[in-house]
Subunit: 646 residues, 3 copies
């Protein structure tokens, strides 16, 4: 695994570029990402390019031995460009234009802007496509950041109409598929259809879902436009995009088909603070991040390409954008880096090389402080750079659970939660975390992925079952869990004729006859577990493997298939997963709350996300016999150990 950093030569006096490059190499970094926000410097006036500074920057960095990842600058079109076509900005759900003055001020559907992107990416790719120092290209930056995927512009409205016309061919087919007879919503022509915002009450959910599908497809198209240009001019270089955390607005699997490497930006402390974690978790892990946040994304994005992935931006210290921004516990930057390695990353690149003293991110730490001194992150990067070589390259993959993840499912449940505590991403994360607490390796993959190399399958929820997915599941003989609300919708967001789980009834003979969403505090109890948020009434001839105290079943088994009829707590999830793992002959271990394991080939890593030391011998009596390549049997707070079996 390589280390790198994100660097902005245009932010610093040219005099220190060379010193910066030297220091990077000396620190153990071998890659550097540049350029992704530099449009106003590359093209300061319309059509007038200034390549000189960038030539020099690339030259200096390359000469120092660094491999460069060059970003296309399309996330930050300059003011002159916006002024030349003011309707290129996205329009928010309230109808307001999203203006210049920060970044991502463009609508994916604007054809004029696409032309401009083609122009600037072509110019860059022509100039630097064959430059020996450039190892990879990053397209744009963090697609969708700041809620920028869905736009309600005229360009988007027109794009949507075209997309619908291509999909449904005639408007009566659309009316029928959407059920527009309901509330007299029938259209006489595709031209009558508007985006689903500013309606009096909620729009037809399939109208919203199709708009989300369309908006996602626009990102795919936008990215492919750039990827194709780069591939044409930069043969042999990787095309990369840096995804974000806990972000589902577009289909990362589809975008991933046009990438060589899926990368992501890992900010565990900010994500803990900004997402659904409980107050207790936010306090307990304030300086470490929840133990499964980074790993979840590693395992998710590895599944977005053929398996090649990296961390393009690694939090090196406090950030500036969360409600509260504490500092990582000393050791966490190293821990995060090694956790990425344990999951198979090609690169961990710290964001950013040096903290910028100006503009929006001036309170975002870097490896270096604004006064050019090394910050805590740099110290830990140095250490980890020396530790990486000790870990052997992975041989064959370790036994692994496949967790099926669907972006479309996320859109569907956002469109129709039916109970405001039903959040798809949180449901998936809860199952992922329960698997991790049992020490299992997990691959998070598309429902369309090949599952031949897995030992066990968990589908937290698959509301729409594609034909291929059904067939694939039918062919499996390994343990499979089907979660609540699976098969509850057709492709056109209707209830299937045979009710949920729809076609999955071919796999497991049961029918969901009624569903309930439950307010916080209202739970259904089993002997030692609780079902909260969501519970289903099931009609089946199967007897229940797990039941409520009143006898209603919540887990049903038919051969290798299990169905879970509600939102389960950790107790129930872990018991169910232990049973499945046993059936799959996967070894499990009950880990303490703050500890996580990851197997990479023959190497096993252990990560302590707590503030107290953990002794592995308490957990594995023979831990003393391990061959430790990092650390030993006692793992300090924020510490890491890695070993192979002797």
């Amino acid at each position: 695994m390589k280390l790198g950093s994100c660097y902005y030569p245009e932010h610093w006096p040219e005099e220190i570029w060379s010193e910066d490059a030297t220091r990077m190499v000396e620190m153990g970094l071998s890659q550097v990402r540049i350029g992704e926000f530099a449009w106003s410097r590359i093209e300061p006036e319309p059509g007038q390019f200034d390549w000189a500074w960038l030539d020099r920057a690339i030259g200096i960095l390359g000469d120092a031995g660094l491999e460069i990842i060059l970003g296309t600058p399309t996330a930050t079109p300059p003011k002159w460009l916006v002024d030349s076509m003011p309707d290129m900005v996205a329009i928010d759900a309230d109808g307001k234009p999203r203006g210049f003055g920060s970044r991502r001020h463009y609508c994916f559907s604007h054809q004029g802007y696409r032309t401009e992107c083609k122009r600037i990416v072509t110019a860059l790719a022509q100039r630097y496509g064959n430059h020996p120092a450039i190892a990879a290209w990053q397209t744009d930056n963090e697609y969708g950041c700041h809620d920028t995927v869905v736009s309600y512009s005229q360009a988007a409205a027109q794009g949507f109409r075209n997309w619908l016309a291509a999909k449904y061919e005639n408007v009566n087919a659309l009316n029928k598929a959407w059920g527009n007879v309901f509330w007299s919503m029938e259209y006489r022509d595709f031209a009558e259809i508007d985006p689903p915002n500013l309606t009096v009450t909620e729009p037809n959910p399939v109208h919203v879902l199709d708009y989300r599908r369309f908006a996602s497809d626009e990102v795919v198209t936008f990215n492919k436009l750039q990827a194709d240009i780069i591939r044409a001019h930069a043969p042999g270089r990787d095309v990369v995009h840096n995804y974000m955390g806990f972000y589902t607005e577009f289909d990362h699997h589809k975008v991933g088909q046009d990438l060589d490497v899926a990368s992501w930006d890992s900010y565990p402390l900010g994500f803990l603070e900004q997402f659904w974690f409980s107050d207790a978790e936010k306090l307990r892990y304030a300086r470490q991040g929840h133990p499964d946040i980074a790993a979840f994304h590693h395992d998710l994005y590895r599944g977005c390409t053929g398996g090649r992935w990296s961390v393009m931006e690694q939090q090196p210290g406090p950030v500036n954008w969360a409600r509260y921004n504490p500092a990582p516990l000393p050791g966490m930057v190293r821990l995060w880096t090694l956790e990425a390695m344990a999951h198979g990353a090609e690169l961990v690149s710290y964001f950013r090389w040096r903290q910028a003293p100006f503009a929006q991110e001036q309170m975002h730490a870097g490896l270096l402080r604004p006064d050019n001194m090394e910050d805590q992150g740099a110290k830990e990067a140095r250490q980890v750079a020396t530790e990486i070589p000790a870990v052997a390259e992975p041989g064959k993959a370790a036994p692994t659970v496949a967790l099926l993840f669907s972006y479309e499912a996320a859109w569907l449940f956002e469109t129709q939660p039916q109970g405001q505590s039903f959040q798809y991403l949180q449901l998936v994360f809860s199952m992922y975390s329960a698997l991790r607490q049992l020490g299992l390796n997990v691959d998070i993959v598309s429902p369309n992925a090949d599952l031949a190399d897995h030992q066990m399958v968990v589908a937290p929820s698959l509301p729409i079952i594609g034909a291929g997915v059904l067939k694939k599941l039918q062919q499996l003989s390994i343990p499979v869990l089907i979660g609540p609300r699976s098969g509850s919708k057709t492709a056109h967001f209707s209830i299937p004729d045979n009710l949920a789980p729809g076609e999955l009834q071919d796999l497991i003979p049961l029918k969901v006859t009624r569903v309930e969403s439950l307010r916080p505090g209202f739970v259904e109890r089993g002997e030692d577990f609780e079902i909260a948020r969501w519970i289903e009434h099931v009609d089946t001839r199967l007897s229940a493997e797990e039941a409520l105290n009143d006898g209603r079943g919540v887990v049903f088994v038919s051969e290798n298939m299990r169905y879970l009829a509600g939102w389960a707590d950790d107790v129930l999830l872990k018991r169910m997963f232990r049973r499945m793992a046993e059936e799959a002959k996967l070894a499990v271990i009950e880990l303490p709350a703050d500890l996580r394991l990851r197997r990479l080939g023959e190497t096993c890593f252990a990560f302590n996300y707590g503030t107290e030391a953990i002794n592995l011998t308490d957990l594995m009596p023979d831990a003393g016999q391990n061959h430790y390549v990092i650390g030993d049997a006692t793992i300090a707070a924020a510490g890491v150990s890695a070993w192979t079996r002797s």
Copy 2:
């Protein structure tokens, strides 16, 4: 009492209409509501009517023996109509148009839309006015749903100016009545007056109140336009509208003057979840609804016409629109139906016949599931259909408390709450509930209603006292309670010259010299009760019937008149109401929290809203001697008993 259901033939294949009709009759239903959202099917192209399908649907349903309630489809104008006059939609308080894509996308004040409504209603009434199967007509659907009464469109602005000109005749009269000298808000012409939105800080409260009065009058006019057409073409048929729950945006008493039957849509679980109830109540009654929610509306809407009322939509299972949507406890659909009967309903109609698998309400249960099997609601409808005949038709009315309810009061207190916890509807409900907890029958009536047949009067608050109301109250000799803030405003939203309670000082000699709103947790204490939210300082020669620990009076009595000078808790309300009932020679009984009684003629019903059985003999030692027409002395959870005295 009849049973019915809401049915949408246009949603289903024509082949099953006949089977549906037969099943309805077999289930015990005798009425069916249709048509209220079918405009796009009735008039698929401008001016081109397709009556054929509707003729057939009406024929099939009628032939099966069902009485039809035909709705006018004006709540869902089709897209071609909106596109032909885009300014027909309402404008929200932020100035945004409320667009097509759901329902109720019209402004009540738009003259062009009114013309269209006249056209479509006339066409319908001409075609079906004398159809023998049609027993009643429903105007539009749920006026005001999704916050659609108040619009800030140009049409509304112009309508408001005309309304003001008619009311005040000259602008100086308006300036004086409104007190526009304050902050230089004086107008020189009615044309200068805008709707009271988008002001820098709060507008003049009388400006807002007049706008609310205007907006309510627009609903009255809109409804009357339809009612008049229907009456002209459909002699002998009832004109009905389906009101909503906990909804006060327009004056239902005024609209009711143009109806034969006031109907409402009863969703007890959704209303519990969405309104002001405490978390403890929301958990305790999650699957039953608060014991007074349905009854409150029954008693309210009975007072909106000459006494004829019904439930047009009865929740039959989980709904789709509340934050959380649990299922009713088994038995509740039957209980709700019988509670409506006990309050004198003509009809309980379940919404809807069959759950639609598509569009916005696909997660809203029906009597039938989407797979055409009977759901729990159907089973309970079947049972209750067999029980209804056992209850004798009511003879004379049981002794009853009149609770005075004013829509204008609701608008006034929303405009000027003075403390954010002062909510008029909640104040009224708290008094209603206290009366119900004492086993009293209640009529909720307009302050203008005749009170000759009542034994006791409770006016939770009458901020503006009309001349007729004062005179009527003066003539009463039965116990009367006047609640806080009564008489605190003139008709033009000013403080009366003699302070609150204004002219009521003729009835009870006291003056409110100062008022205070209190934050949650800040209460004034009496020996066993608390005053929270609102407390008044009273200057009077009367001695207090109830006082705070510091000696300040909170209840004052003068002959048959009582004044309550604050927001009282259940302890104080019930003690006061017990005293009044004693004076009125009304029998009271202290009911357990989950039990409610209702007397209908000679029959007494008891409803158990709890999750445990209740034994009536614990409450009434001679309960064993009752003649039970439904159930017996032990009432199961969600159970009902009804008896006459032997």
Copy 3:
């Protein structure tokens, strides 16, 4: 000190003006403010002035012996004026115009409106400038009330561009100062720059800060325009403006330079309810206000001019605008009046003379009730009018702590809180309160103020250090506290080259190398204190005066300079301030929670903000020896004592 009231002759029948004037004088009032909202009566039609009524009102009030403060009516332009130039209203951050119908519906930057203001102020000043009854002029009313300082109108945008051009001279200088290379935000011309709203994510913080500076300057200019006209026509009269409470949107120090007297509007109960106080404080002080609210503003606004200040509007009873509006405890109106006196006010003027029964403020108490009877406030005003003469005029100032307050700092921290609980005003208030709890006199002054007469300096935070401030601090030998985040930014909102505290490192040798914001509940503990919200990592050779349990220092001392590296609780603040006071030879006393002292010359006042009596001898054993000019050694709830040492 004088007493007065705010009076609106235009609201009342002319017949009672004379009686009102007589009653004021009889009650002990000697000043009266009028006219500030009367534009529509002064100029009912464009260009047609009606002076007659105002001549008579001024005549009657003056003849009664009252000194008049005449307000310019520019806060309430009439409808005809707004209709003549609709773009004169401010535009909110969402792009919506802020319309007519309340008050303050203008944009400070609109040149047309400025011309209108010049016209009306000139007309008033020409007519009444030399009127003998007029003692002072109030400009406009409560600049900024209802969030009206910052506007996003075209007029403001253009004004901003001009302001930037004047400040930066060329756009490249601006690009460099702002760091616009970040995210390609570079401009080619000042004309390209928009206001910093409606951006996709947060704009450049310096863009926001400059916009705030610009908006504040617009208020200064707007006020000066009026002040200059008044001074030209009304020689010898004071120019006054009435500031608000807890309000920092414009630089009151700068506006104060164009005033003779800084006045403010004191509503302690509303401020308690609306601002950051804890629920416990809001309950404890619901009818008294927090003991430091009024005093804080007295001490703040005294520092906005050369020391002359007053209370233009004093809460006399319940108000109408807070979430909850309880009544002051009996005695509080007197207490507030005497607290103002103790801080050196020239005038306390009650708002308002008589409660208006109509329009927006009808629920706002006055000295008289709407029925013309005296309310509680009048009774207390009568009492205090008799007590004032007993207090000797102050001789020399008492020893005093200087608390440095910067409006720019408030804008800066709002722009970049970095942790959402970091609120500058609350930080300042917490230090002010800790000083008051030790019985110290405090002057709240601009960082630019002369500190020669002070004994001790507290700078809660000075994020940007001006050159003059640094030099002044260097020359001080008295104890100085520098709070967290001081010196953390350059004038262009960047991090200083040498990190925080920037140039202050010349005063105290330490460097802040990392900062953390902490979520509620996450605290760092010392032996008996807690650091919450904000903690800094400090690199220094100094040993710590106070440290966390883990050894990290939080208070550092170097000669007379102290640095506080976090957000401290009362325990730590008071211990630090006691040490500093000891070094400064200032006497301190540990006051009970509800008691506050203030020294005015030789007189010491004590104020009991609690609901129980306090005996001074419990606190000062020799309190019996005091010479009491008001009260005695036992201070009742809401009571006041004042004494000189015998």
